[in-house]
């Protein structure tokens, strides 16, 4: 047994002990410690395999006998899980201390990690599907352990209903693949004709797409992520949606490969819709966690754009760019996992300190919570794609890939690539606007409510977890080129790529990431030096001669108003102004404005109503009369006999 294999097995065992421990009276701190060690070991094994060690365990097989194993792609995802889970577990140790149901939350967190690892390490359909279902149920149970008010119960119901309905797609795809032996032998599906392949692709798109939060299947995501305990929100948004991407990658690039062109174009289309739609809805949110959840939809869209571009390149036969687009998607998976979990953990600290995540109640937190605030600021800059941070790197690479799709040989795919590239550029711009709003309203200015004024930094673990992830953001921004060759190698039929610290792509130049970062550090140092001893603005801000008071500050709705006005036709904001007059004088003005989530009212509600109407019709045959049931039975028996007689039943 090699070192990587030993680490993987040991990691799994330690993680299981850490998960079961809290239920048999093991205190939660050592249990979380065991979970962290287990995840760390598994992640280390993943890194080893990704960097060239031999694959661990079994290979994929088409039967239902349980099998586990780690290859390069699984290794990458295991490493991503570990990178997010380690700070999240450290954070959870302090965040959960004394919480009601602490033991259960720790155990369910461990189960969640086990199921995430189980999906990426599964080597047969049975383990894959079992881990997949557990991955859905564990966070739902954790949410219910923490909060049981009717509103949260409804959210959990919606989460389970949407993900399970969508999840049937995963079952259909996986069982079909297993049936035709395509898990072990990727060529097997190609011999079955287009209909079977289409079934698998559509099943995978719906099943994995629902879990990944691709629009328009994302309805559960902005509801469920905000109500989960923060360290689990970080894992849900940072890793769980990525594990769905893992499934999509396996189907599109391995099991059902080579996929037809339309599948790539569908990926581009849903990616574009998710990226633009996600960021637009993120922009108009007032609740910080809800904003972050919608931003996850956006970033999953960007990943889907990269994967769509890779599919189109493969269809065109351009293996080099297919590999680069594929690697861009994987790099964005990693980057988004890092900064989104950072932002969720920091948001959890804000919520703990202020008691609310309403952006109109925060403010001035950078001074009061310098560590968490600075980490949040860096994470916001990274997710907004501010160069040279890691979010910019992977978005730049995705954009390069889309530009190359646009320059491709055929007009149709070229047009699709052009639209997608333009859409991604617009997404990046709106994301910047969105996170300027989030960071500005939460961190800068005066506290908008007294609770924000007395906010203090949490303890060391909750402070260091976001700071560690911020460090990861910078490291990933500095030397993305060292990681890229390993990711390119995971693409099907990829050519070898030399490792540079920066990014070197054929045809359109390079991104000298380390030098950019160095330049910014030097410029910042110079600016710092030039600033001298000044700590604050020397004169008060000019407010047209009025006294500066909190009511004059920006509000969430006010900041985004210009863009919402421009996009009125799409977003259809609703607002209500009530003016109460007394004796001819205005006594009070109340204002209520919101941007309704049109997907709920225009897509999900009609679907639900239709389904309920059908159910009511079907219910009529459930008369409750024994005689009616006997009559059904008689009809069934006679029909079966007739069918047998005419030979329709074999």
């Amino acid at each position: 047994m090699g070192a990587a294999e030993t680490a993987a097995v040991l990691g799994a065992v330690v993680l299981i002990v850490g998960t079961v421990g809290p239920l048999v009276r093991l205190p939660t701190a050592p249990a979380l410690g065991l979970q962290a060690i287990g995840v760390g070991l598994a992640g280390a094994a993943g890194v080893a395999v990704l960097c060239g060690a031999a694959p661990i365990g079994a290979g994929f097989h088409g039967g239902l006998a349980p099998a586990l194993g780690v290859d390069g792609l699984s290794g990458f995802f295991l490493a991503t899980i570990a990178l997010v889970a380690l700070p999240a577990l450290a954070y959870g140790r302090e965040y959960l201390r004394g919480a009601p149901g602490e033991r259960w939350l720790v155990a369910l967190g461990g189960l969640f990690l086990l199921s995430l690892g189980g999906v990426v390490a599964a080597r047969d359909a049975s383990i894959f599907l079992a881990a997949w279902e557990l991955m859905t149920l564990a966070p739902a149970a954790a949410i219910l352990v923490r909060r049981t008010d009717p509103e949260v119960r409804h959210v959990v119901f919606v989460y389970l209903a949407v993900t399970h309905l969508g999840g049937t797609g995963v079952w259909i795809a996986m069982l079909t693949l297993a049936h035709y032996g395509a898990l072990a032998d990727p060529g097997a599906l190609a011999g079955q004709g287009a209909a079977v392949q289409t079934l698998v692709i559509v099943g995978a798109l719906i099943g994995f797409g629902t879990k990944a939060g691709l629009m328009p299947l994302h309805a559960w995501l902005p509801r469920a992520h905000p109500v989960a305990p923060s360290h689990l929100s970080a894992l849900m948004s940072g890793v769980m949606v990525k594990v769905a991407i893992y499934g999509l990658i396996r189907v599109f690039f391995q099991w059902a490969a080579p996929v037809p062109l339309w599948a790539g174009l569908v990926l581009l289309a849903v990616g574009l819709l998710s990226a633009l739609g996600g960021v637009l809805f993120a922009l108009v949110q007032r609740d910080l966690k809800r904003l972050l959840a919608f931003s996850s939809v956006e970033n999953v869209g960007i990943v889907a754009l990269g994967l769509g571009a890779a599919t189109v390149f493969l269809w065109e036969g351009d293996r080099t760019w297919a590999a680069i687009a594929f690697a861009a998607a994987l790099l964005h998976v990693l980057n988004h996992a890092v900064f989104k979990s950072l932002l969720f953990l920091a948001a959890g600290s804000f919520e703990r300190a202020v008691g609310s995540l309403d952006l109109d109640r925060l403010g001035g937190l950078l001074r009061r919570m310098p560590w968490t605030g600075a980490a949040f600021l860096l994470g916001a800059a990274a997710i907004a794609g501010v160069p040279p941070l890691n979010g910019f790197v992977s978005e730049w690479l995705t954009l390069q890939a889309l530009v190359h799709v646009a320059l491709g040989p055929s007009l149709g795919t070229g047009l699709a690539g052009g639209v997608a590239a333009a859409g991604l550029a617009a997404t990046a711009a709106i994301a910047l606007f969105c996170f300027v709003k989030a960071a500005g309203l939460a961190l800068l200015g005066e506290p908008r409510r007294p609770e924000s004024a007395v906010a203090t930094e949490p303890g060391a673990a909750m402070r260091l977890a976001p700071v560690f992830l911020a460090g990861c953001c910078i490291a990933l921004a500095a030397v993305p080129g060292l990681l890229l060759p390993a990711l390119v190698k995971l693409a099907p039929g990829a050519p070898a790529m030399a490792a540079h610290p920066g990014l070197e792509v054929p045809g359109t130049g390079s991104l000298p990431a380390p030098w950019l970062l160095l330049g910014i550090v030097v410029l910042t140092a110079v600016a710092w030096r030039l600033r001298g001893e000044r700590r604050a603005a020397p004169v008060p801000a000019w407010a047209c001669g009025q006294r500066v008071e909190p009511a004059l500050g920006w509000t969430s709705a006010g900041f985004t108003k210009p863009l919402v006005l421009v996009l009125q036709a799409v977003l259809r904001p609703e607002r209500e102004v009530e003016v109460t007059k007394r004796g001819g004088l205005v006594a009070s003005v109340s204002y209520r404005g919101e941007v309704p989530h049109r997907f709920d009212t225009h897509l999900y509600r009609p679907l639900r109503d239709r389904a309920l109407a059908v159910a009511a019709t079907v219910r009529r045959i459930q008369s409750g009369s024994v005689r009616a049931y006997a009559a059904y039975l008689l009809v069934l028996v006679l029909a079966m006999l007739v069918l047998l007689r005419v030979g329709a039943l074999g």
């Binding site: 409750g624 006997a630 006679l638 006999l641």
Partner: protein, 204 residues
Amino acid sequence: MNAAVAALVALGIGVIVVRRRSLATALVALQGLILGVTALSLEGGDSGTMVVAGVILLVRAAAIPVLLVLARRRTPERTLVAPTTSVATRLLLATAVVLVAVAATPPLGLGDRVAEHGSVALLCLGITTVAVRRPAILQVLGVLVAENGVYLLAIAVPGGVPAVVELGVLFDLVLVVTVAIAFAGKIHERVGSGDTDLLRGLRD
């Protein structure tokens, strides 16, 4: 064999058609008797299988009818439960079901087509009895007719069915009848009649 099957089907039709529970119970008991005698006559001289067939005969033709008669005594109907369908309609329906069942029965591989037809017809007649008769006891009798159809199939299997299976099925049957009678008693206690249609009022 052919005469026995014809008699069994005729008795099955009778259970659907007759008005009184006592008469229907007697018809089912007679079915059990005919089945038992047929089974005994088909067994070769093996004493073990003869004993099993004898026990089955006693239970089907005597024990279960006695249970049903006792149950009927315990649940007297003040007025007859008015049947939803007339005697002629029921007779027509039963005949139609028998004809369709016989026409639709595929070869089941027993070699004896008459027994195959007879057992499928009895099964369908039993279910039809449950579907068209309202008193609880008559519905139990419907289940017994269907079960008799299955037993006919079992004794027609060349070489016979293992004794363990036959006794297991018998035990099952006694259990089903006991539970059904207990429930019929409860229903009577609650709504003052064995009319299962009254139970629908309890729904929702």
